[in-house]
């Protein structure tokens, strides 16, 4: 039977045979993680290209247009053309920029979000590094984007960039609180921070956490959309007010890195949502006789959640700054705290003790 675990075992077996032939078996512990990280990078680069195409098709569909249809079949190669255009563009830099931070900021923004992908389990055993603090690690490492955005806004030496940077930082910090609080009930129930462990718990329990924790799921998706600076929470970029926000002064490859980072942030949040609330690689109930490999289920659920986040963008109007802060602090955070308390009380009544 074809499963993700078998593929990984096959590939790692081949690799270790190759190491033995080359006489570098002792370095396997160093080379293996590098190879898996590079594979993950290749996957995410292609996947993000597909997502940009998908976003344009979704928006076109919602606005009764056709969308890209000239480059390649169904316009699939449009993003490739765009990427080539971005990389050969002239890199325009402001004269009074703060040179080193200006250069580093897009790299940090991109790397920080990409590092979140490292702990996402695509199938049983198909994960670059299965940390047992996985969910905490993702929350922590993606926090670097705040510093990257602040640095980008500040080092551009442009008032719109600075305003956008500060708006963005304020927004990300505010919504990070509700994001973390919405995850807490899941951790309370499962008693583990490991993403694979949470999926295994859902397998044994026989239900996905979206059923008992629908409130947490809605809070998570909303906060994740806000964290990724996507519409309707895109006031940091707000083309019409801030002419692009923190990346106003960035062009060419550096802009591409912010762009890529934003899409990877969407992928990471959606992947975490799938893992926590939609059972990760588990098949739909009553459909496990089909023997569809787990990573196919995972990718299908991932695309569904990403479609949801894209649909938000083309459905809701942009919020004002004060509405945004009010919504985050006065609505989402109280609801998520109440959700934590309610979960604790219900689980205590049902099982009489904490997790495990």
């Amino acid at each position: 039977m074809l499963t993700g675990e078998n593929i990984v075992q096959l590939v790692s077996g081949l690799l270790h045979w190759a190491y033995a032939q080359a006489g570098i078996s002792s370095l396997a512990g160093v080379i293996d993680p590098i190879i898996s990280a590079v594979v993950m990078f290749g996957f995410i680069a292609v996947f993000v290209m597909f997502l940009v195409w998908m976003e344009r098709k979704v928006s076109a569909h919602m606005q009764s247009r056709i969308g890209p249809n000239r480059v390649g079949p169904l316009g699939l190669l449009q993003t490739v053309a765009d990427a080539i255009k971005l990389t050969i563009k002239e890199d325009v830099k402001p004269v009074n920029r703060d040179k080193v931070p200006y250069f580093i900021a897009p790299i940090v923004a991109f790397v920080a979000t990409f590092m979140g992908m490292v702990v996402i389990p695509f199938d049983k055993g198909v994960v670059v590094q299965d940390l047992n603090v996985g969910i905490l690690y993702i929350i922590a490492i993606t926090g670097f984007t705040v510093i990257a955005i602040l640095t980008a806004g500040w080092s551009s030496n442009n008032k719109y960039a600075l305003l956008g940077g500060f708006r963005s930082a304020a927004q990300i910090i505010s919504y990070e609180v509700s994001l973390v609080l919405s995850v807490v009930p899941i951790i309370m129930i499962t008693g583990t921070l490991s993403l694979s462990g949470i999926v295994e718990y859902q397998k044994q329990a026989g239900y996905w956490f979206i059923l008992p924790q629908i409130v947490a799921f809605l809070i998570f998706i909303t906060s994740a959309t806000a964290e990724a600076n996507r519409a309707p929470f895109d006031i940091p970029e707000a083309e019409s007010e801030l002419i692009g926000g923190f990346h106003t002064e960035y062009s060419g490859v550096k802009f591409a890195m912010f762009f890529l980072g934003e899409y990877i942030a969407v992928v990471v949040s959606s992947a975490v949502a799938v893992t926590l609330f939609l059972g990760g690689w588990l098949p739909l109930p009553y459909l496990d006789f089909l023997h569809i490999p787990g990573f196919v289920w995972f990718l299908a659920k991932l695309l569904l959640v990403i479609y949801l986040i894209m649909a938000f963008r083309w459905t809701f109007p942009r919020l004002r700054v004060d509405q945004l802060m009010d919504f985050g602090w006065k609505v989402l955070i109280p609801i998520s705290i109440i959700n934590i308390l309610a979960t604790a009380v219900v689980w205590f009544c049902l099982y009489g003790k904490g997790a495990q």
Binding site: S26, V30, G125, L131, N132, I139, G143, I147, L193
Partner: protein, 189 residues
Amino acid sequence: MSNLIFYAIAGIVVASGLLSLTVRNLFHCALFLAMTMFGVSGVFLYLNSDFLASVQVLIYVGAVTVIIIFGISLTRNLMDDRAKAMNRQLLFAVLAAAVLTVILFAAIHQSSFVTQEHPMAVTLGTVTSDTQSMTAVEAGASPVFQSVGYLADALLLPQNGFAFAFEFVSILLLSALVGAIVIARKDPS
């Protein structure tokens, strides 16, 4: 090899820590501070304490440094490279630093460290370049010690005597939070 990694991390921490104190541009100071904190989390990772490493990044890079950047952005002469690096509180600062150093030295001197015989350390030395542990990793076993449960037991089990201190600190933080809101609240008038 592993000593080399430690000295690399420690070098980054010390160098960026010194730079964060001596660089004149306040914004650069904050960025170097973030780098220092990230380096400290690297030390935690090196000691196989993945929970502390994550929390270090989450709190000190994701929150404290960002608050500091917000704070210094509200001050004047932000871009000025000739700003004074000293101020009138020099004496108290030296005093506080001296007291902190003594406390840290005493704490480090008194605590007993995990050695190779400890069950925590058994998994540590054999993570890389060992075929046996590689198969353990492939079998799904994490090469890193389960520090979360260990920390929870150490801090929260009543017989270890830290539960009260733990709760006390959380109440302290809560009161600080409420106090901040009271100070930041607009005047009713």
